[in-house]
Amino acid sequence: MEQLKTIGRELAMGSQGGFGQSKEFLDLVKSIGEARSKAEEDRIVLREIETLKRRLLEPDIPKRKMKEYIIRLLYVEMLGHDASFGYIHAVKMTHDDALPLKRTGYLAVTLFLSDDHDLIILIVNTIQKDLRSDNYLVVCAALNAVCKLINDETIPAVLPQVVELLGHSKEAVRKKAVMALHRFYQKSPGAVSHLVSNFRKRLCDNDPGVMGASLCPLFDLVTIDAKSYKDLVSSFVSILKQVAERRLPKSYDYHQMPAPFIQVKLLKILALLGSGDKQASESMYTVLGDIIRKSDSSTNIGNAVLYECICCVASIHPNPKLLESAADVIAKFLKSDSHNLKYMGIDALGRLIKLSPQIAEQHQLAVIDCLEDPDDTLKRKTFELLYKMTKSSNVEVIVDRMVDYMISISDDHYKTYIASRCVELAEQFAPSNHWFIQTMNKVFEHAGDLVNIKVAHNLMRLIAEGFGEDDDATDSQLRSSAVESYLRIIGEPKLPSMFLQVICWVLGEYGTADGKHSASYISGKLCDIAEAYSNDETVKVFTKIQLFANKAGKFKAYAISALMKIYAFEVAAGRKVDMLPECQSFIEELLASHSTDLQQRAYELQAVVGLDAQAVQAILPRDTRCEEIEVDKDLSFLNGYVDQAIEKGAQPYIAEDERNGMGNVSNLRSQDQHESIQHGLRFEAYELPKPPMQSKVDPVSSTDVVPVPEALSYRETHPISSVGSTSEAGSSELKLRLDGVQKKWGRPTYSTPTSSTTNSPSEKPANGASHVDSATASYSKSRDSQNTKKTEIDPEKQKLAASLFGGSSQPERRSSTGHKASRSSGGAADGSRGSKAVEKTIQQPPPPDLLDFSDEPTVTSALPSVDPFKQLEGLLDSSMSSTTNHNAGTATIAPDIMSLYGDSTASQDSLDIFHGLSTEPTGATSGETTVTTLPQSVKGPNAKDALEKDALVRQMGVNPTSQNPNLFRDLLG
């Protein structure tokens, strides 16, 4: 009987090869594998698409053939080509009664279709039918599809059945039903909000898999509303306790850890529930302590659980003992050689730093190592940490570092991000205006248009308002320093447009204010900008006419507004305006511009220049940018006029809401008439600019008692107070409307640097606390020396550490100013730091690598010397060189091994990719470990499997080794 069965199976497999596919498909996969370029691969796939299109049109395709076509379609789609012509066949396959076909059909549709695809509607019916099936495997397949394909419109069609399945007898079905319901909740919370209690119920499921699955939706629910789940704290804690005590079945163990994935989820939920809740937190302390103690820090998953514990400890109500053990774990992470653990350590440090600021100081050298690491990911994470620990005493160093890094990268997404971080920190902690402007200039210059427009507004506002103190001298000093820096920068090519806007505005407003620069010099510069950027853009006009024409127009508008101000100030000062020829021609060009805006600005400029000094002074008064413009929202100045009109028999004004209610009561006719008139007029009123005040009275009078919308009233009253042309007033209004922006930068105590040294010791290094000590100067000095002494790594690092952490390079100052009351005297800190540094370097030597023994002994033998810093220096150097040696070693040895095994063709093509696992559970499977463990895996039992597989492949006519050494040799790593 048994024999018959095998024969039957062989018959059933028939023409298929050992991997279950036809020769045709194997050939396809093979030829794709052999393709040497993307173009060649594309050609093969396109040919395959043609074949499949033809085949699918054939009548009466046998089902098994069809299944293979669908899999081939999947393959095509996976390689990034469009297989939409075959989607309908995959949909049809889901209708099939046989499970294997149905399963393949569902797999294909979940991979092909998104939840808003038109074909979904054809599948919903099948899904409904399958959810009712007696065969739980069919139900599982359908539930898999439900998770991917059902959108908020189709949820009601399957929801009742999914809910019913939550009580199915098979745990696999219950689990998938929980996941499906979770997905529904994510897509449309409203549709299933009445069903969330089901998740609570499933938490008590007998099957750990279902319980684990129910944690996913519960996590989401707790994230949104922790309060309503406080009652579950004790359940979660007891589940976690049971898990940690290995009460779950052995099959949930992973690398000797009891159900770690479930532990991680539970810890995440507890972190949310315990946040800000002392009582709830207290019930978690014991189990958290247990887990931290028990977790195995030699495996990845053990560290994952430990990391999650730290997050939880940092989130819940603080407990000193737990914080201490969390700090120990962080220390272990940071001292580790694995970049992964360092990364996690930095992240965890960032979480804990709010609770215990001193912890960062213990790890200052490790943090700096990470900051200077070539690994971008680690570096970025470290910036994240620095961002969290910025205070006024270290802001300069940190922001400088950030800006330098920002300049060096090309990834726009991250550039935007870090630019906004720089701006935020600079605004919050800027030690001086001058520094703030310099920093902003750098950010604008390099991140340009990636910066939020608000930042530009803030900068302009700062320059206009100064520090909010009545100290005009400082303000004008600030302005002239800004003007100076902009005049310097202006010559550089390709400035971002937002920066140019700032430059133009500042030059226009303050270019001539301090009398250092003549009007003609500034105006010449402005014309240069307009010239340079308009030419620059016109070249590209062919590609994107609209966009670039607008952009060029924008530059011209900036420039001409600035010119107008400069000339107006000149006129107002009673000096004769002599326009440079290039300005003349620039203005003439704009007078004939196609853009009405530019044209108007040019005409206004001409008009202003022609006026006498007094009039100009009234139109464009100097230095009034920061005066509040009072807006008379009630239009009280019109009262007299309105009274007059009413006396003459006009209708009194009725507010809009009242009017709506009244409409049907009385005066129907007249009201209606009024409304129609109002609407017509209102639309007109927005469009027309009416610069002179007199002309504005007319429309008001004609509309009688029209309700003037607020926005309109703002605009219209504006010219009354500033008596200027609308366009100018409008533009300045645009720039200055920052009323809603909170003023962050600047500290009230600034500009009295002498007083700062008397900072009381009680002052905490908290945000915003002022330390404008003369330390600032020494910080910048230390930075300079950093730049000059690049060869000496160690002192540089020390200084960096000192400036970041307020560290020991200036111990006297620190102790005198008392930055950190928590620390002991400078000398002691110094010593402890030195020893820590030594300790660190002991950790530092390269990882125990099989390929490199040579340098390690020398490193350790160098230890017992006298001066700790000297020692540190030497150590660092030698360890550096040893790491480089060691890298070189790997590099040279790796190819050797490659060539060694290059001959043994049999093992080559299908080496076990898994061999790294058993020997390297920590997950740091790097290149060389793969290489070094290789001989074992070749000799071990795995090689036999591999050989068998290879033989099988050869039998089937796929012969990858000889024809395609590239693809398969790489299995060697």
Partner: protein, 161 residues
């Protein structure tokens, strides 16, 4: 939440893709292009995480295959790394010392296994044994169906003789 899973060979060839968040075909190719160039160029000693467009991509190399999972910024990277490892271990148990060839020729089976571990971007089952048992149940049915077909055809063949 996991947004997608990618398997790329060292030459940048795609071995498996699974998307849990909506991406158009165009975006998918772009994502694969961007990520494969970024990940394949990273050195072996660097950390296995890449910050990418506000998400985090965790990758791990097994022989010549890179397994990549993209998830949210605040997810636990080490856990994700372990999920990858868990998937590979499950594959290994299923195929019996898995190699890249298994995945190349049986990518649909790799999909089926992945579907039993991850669902809707979350981990649904953390026990290897449960996962494999379910897969086996499905395949037994598959085998049974085949046998049935062949026995039927032989009966028909005998009857028509």
């Amino acid at each position: 939440m996991i947004h997608f899973v990618l398997l790329i060979s060292r030459q940048g060839k795609v071995r498996l893709t699974k998307w849990y968040s909506p991406y158009s075909q165009k975006e998918r190719s772009k994502v694969i292009r961007e990520l494969s160039s970024e990940i394949l160029s990273r050195g072996p000693k660097l950390c296995n995480f890449v910050e990418w467009r506000g998400f985090k991509v965790v990758y791990k190399r097994y022989a010549s295959l890179y397994f990549c999972i993209c998830n949210d910024q605040d997810d636990n990277e080490l856990e994700t790394l372990s999920i990858i490892h868990h998937y590979v271990e499950t594959l290994d148990r299923y195929f019996g010392s898995v190699c890249e060839l298994d995945l190349i020729f049986n990518f649909h089976k790799a999909y089926f296994i992945l579907d039993e571990i991850l669902l809707a971007g979350e981990m649904q089952e953390t026990s290897k044994r449960t996962t494999l048992r379910l897969i086996a149940a499905q395949e037994e049915l598959l085998e049974a169906a085949k046998e049935e077909a062949s026995s039927l055809s032989s009966i028909i063949a005998q009857a028509t003789k």
